[in-house]
C-alpha cells in the first residue's frame, strides 16, 4: 500500500512486541522456572531444580481442591451460558434504544470490580439486610439466618460475574444472525420453544460451546467470590495459589500450582480452537 522500504512500521512493531515479550511472556517463563526452585521459609526461594513442588500437587489436598474448583467452574459456566443466551436473543430483537440500555448495563457490570460485586451479594445475603430479611417480612421465613458463606452463595456470585461477559461475547454474532429461517418457521406455525431448540441452538452450537469453555477458564481464575461468599472448602485453585504465595510465602509451590493451572487452561483453549476450526472448514 505504501512504499516498501520503510523502517518505521518495523521499528514500532518491534517495540510493541518487545514490551509484550518483556512484561507478559518473561514473567510467565520466570514463574515456570521458580516452580522448580526450593522453597525457603525465611524468604523467597533457593535456586534449585526439584520436582517436589509438583509432587505436592498430587498429594490428596490439592487434588481435591483442584477437582472441586473444576466442578464449580464447569457448573458455573454451563449455568451462565444457559441464562445468558436467551437474554441475548431477546435483547437483540429490542429497539436500538433498549439495546443501548442493555449494553451499558452489561458493560458496567463487566467492568465493575469483583470486590464490589462480592460485597453487594454479601449484603444481599446477610441476616440484617437483603433476601433473608425480605423473606421474613413476607412471612416465609421465621428465623432468618445469613445465606453466606455457602456453596450456593458462591455459585450465585460466579454466575453473576460471568453473566455480563458471556452476554457481551455472544451479542455480536447473535444480533447479526440471519433471521429468515426463524421467521419462516414462525410463519409456518412453529411454537417459539421449538424454534429455540430446533433452530437457534443448532445454529449457535459451536459458539455456545466455545463461550462455555472460555467461561470455564475464567471461573477457574475467580478469586474474590470464593473468599467472600464461599466456605474454605469451596475455595478454588486461585485462592489456594494466592494463599500459598502470599500467606505462607511459599512461592515455588504457588508457582507450581499456577503452572498446573496454566496447562489446564492451554488444553481447554486448544480444544476450543479445534472445535471452532472444524466448523470453519
Amino acid at each position: 500500500m505504501i512504499g516498501p522500504r520503510t523502517y518505521g512500521p518495523r521499528l514500532i512493531g518491534g517495540l510493541a512486541f518487545g514490551v509484550l515479550a518483556v512484561f507478559f511472556v518473561i514473567p510467565l517463563i520466570f514463574m515456570i522456572v521458580v516452580s522448580f526452585y526450593q522453597p525457603d521459609p525465611m524468604g523467597f526461594y533457593k535456586v534449585d531444580f526439584v520436582w517436589e513442588n509438583y509432587g505436592k500437587f498430587f498429594s490428596s489436598f490439592y487434588y481435591t481442591v483442584s477437582f472441586r474448583s473444576l466442578y464449580s467452574a464447569a457448573l458455573g459456566a454451563v449455568l451462565v451460558v444457559a441464562l445468558a443466551f436467551p437474554l441475548v436473543l431477546f435483547v437483540s430483537d429490542l429497539s436500538r434504544r433498549m439495546q443501548l440500555f442493555w449494553i451499558i448495563l452489561l458493560l458496567s457490570l463487566m467492568c465493575l470490580s469483583e470486590v464490589i460485586i462480592g460485597f453487594a451479594w454479601l449484603i444481599l445475603m446477610s441476616e440484617s439486610a437483603g433476601l433473608p430479611r425480605l423473606l421474613e417480612w413476607v412471612g416465609l421465613w421465621k428465623n432468618p439466618r445469613s445465606l453466606s458463606p455457602s456453596f450456593g452463595a458462591m455459585m450465585i456470585g460466579l454466575v453473576f460475574l460471568g453473566f455480563s461477559i458471556v452476554s457481551l461475547i455472544l451479542y455480536p454474532s447473535v444480533s447479526r444472525r440471519d433471521r429468515n429461517i426463524e421467521e419462516a418457521a414462525v410463519t409456518l406455525g412453529t411454537p417459539p420453544a421449538l424454534v429455540f431448540y430446533k433452530i437457534l441452538i443448532p445454529t449457535f452450537r459451536t459458539s455456545l460451546v466455545s463461550v462455555t469453555l472460555t467461561m470455564f477458564v475464567y471461573l477457574l481464575g475467580v478469586f474474590v467470590m470464593p473468599t467472600m461468599l464461599g466456605r474454605p472448602k469451596d475455595w478454588t485453585m486461585t485462592v489456594i495459589i494466592s494463599d500459598k504465595a502470599l500467606g505462607d510465602a511459599n512461592l515455588p509451590l504457588g508457582a507450581a500450582l499456577a503452572v498446573v493451572m496454566l496447562i489446564v487452561t492451554v488444553l481447554v483453549l486448544i480444544v476450543s480452537a479445534l472445535l471452532t476450526r472444524r466448523r470453519a472448514t
Binding site: I123, S128, A255
Partner: protein
C-alpha cells in the same frame, strides 16, 4: 414471557446495587436494609478521610497511566498490522490476545515474581506497567475494528496529494480511528480502577488501591463507608460508559445492526 425474562434478569443484575445504595445512605453503623434513617455521613467520611482519598488518588493515577500504555500499544500493533500485513505483525497481535485468555492469577503471580526479581516490588510503576500490558487485549480488538473500517480511497487520496506516511497517519488515519482509541482507553481505565487480584499480588501491601482497601475492609470488619466507596465506583463506571455512548456507537461496536 420474553418481557418477563428481561425484567427478571434486569432486576437480578441491578438489585445488589440498590441494596448497597440503601446501606450507604443509612444512618446506622450496622448493615441494615431498608435503612431506618437517611444520612450522608458515610460519603463525607469517604471524601474527607486521608486514607480513603489516598487510595482513590492512587487508583485513578494507575488507571490513567495504564490506559495510556494499553492504548498506545494496541494502536501501534494495529497500525503496523494494517500497514505491513506481515506475519510478525499478526503474531504480535495474537500475542496481545494472550492476557485475556489466561486466568488472572497466573498473570498476577508471574508479574509478582518478576517485579520482585527486578527489585520493583512495592513501586506503583510496576502495577501501572502490568495493568497496561495485561489489559491491552480489549483496546487491541476494538481498535482493530476501527482499522477495518478504513477505506483505501481516503488513504490513496492523501498519498496522491503527496502526504508522507507520518502525515497520512496524523491527518487521515488517526482522526478516523480516534473514537475506537478513546473507547479502548476508557474501558482499560475502568477495568484498571476496578481490578483487585493483580494489583494485590504485585504490591498490595504497599500500593493500596481502592479495591484492595475495600476488600481488606470487608474482610476485617466493615463499616458502611465501604458501601459508599462501592457506590462511588458504580457511579464512576456508569458515567464514563454513558459519556462513551455519546461519543461512539456502542451498539454498532458490540454487535452490528442489520443495516450495515
Amino acid at each position: 414471557m420474553r418481557n418477563l425474562y428481561l425484567w427478571f434478569i434486569a432486576t437480578m443484575l441491578i438489585a445488589p446495587f440498590v441494596v448497597v445504595l440503601g446501606v450507604s445512605m443509612g444512618e446506622s453503623k450496622n448493615i441494615a436494609f431498608p435503612p431506618d434513617a437517611l444520612s450522608s455521613a458515610w460519603y463525607s467520611e469517604l471524601l474527607t478521610e486521608a486514607e480513603w482519598l489516598a487510595a482513590i488518588g492512587r487508583s485513578m493515577l494507575i488507571a490513567v497511566c495504564a490506559a495510556m500504555i494499553s492504548t498506545v500499544l494496541a494502536l501501534a500493533i494495529n497500525y503496523v498490522l494494517w500497514r505491513t500485513k506481515s506475519g510478525f505483525a499478526k503474531a504480535t497481535f495474537a500475542l496481545g490476545l494472550g492476557p485475556f485468555l489466561l486466568p488472572p492469577i497466573i498473570l498476577a503471580l508471574g508479574a509478582s515474581l518478576f517485579w520482585a526479581e527486578v527489585g520493583w516490588y512495592g513501586r506503583m510503576e510496576a502495577t501501572i506497567i502490568s495493568h497496561g500490558v495485561f489489559f491491552m487485549t480489549l483496546p487491541l480488538v476494538i481498535i482493530a475494528r476501527g482499522f477495518a473500517a478504513l477505506t483505501d480511497e481516503v488513504i490513496e487520496a492523501a498519498q496522491m496529494m503527496g502526504a508522507t506516511p507520518a502525515q497520512v497517519f496524523q491527518t487521515v488515519v488517526f482522526p478516523l480511528v480516534a473514537p475506537y482509541v478513546f473507547t479502548g482507553f476508557a474501558l482499560v481505565a475502568i477495568i484498571s480502577v476496578n481490578e483487585y487480584l493483580i494489583a494485590n499480588m504485585i504490591s498490595g501491601f504497599v500500593v493500596e488501591t481502592l479495591p484492595i482497601k475495600i476488600f481488606n475492609n470487608v474482610r476485617y470488619g466493615y463499616s458502611p463507608v465501604v458501601a459508599a466507596a462501592s457506590m462511588l465506583f458504580v457511579a464512576l463506571t456508569v458515567t464514563i460508559l454513558l459519556v462513551l455512548s455519546r461519543i461512539t456507537d456502542l451498539v454498532a461496536l458490540f454487535g452490528t445492526s442489520k443495516d450495515t
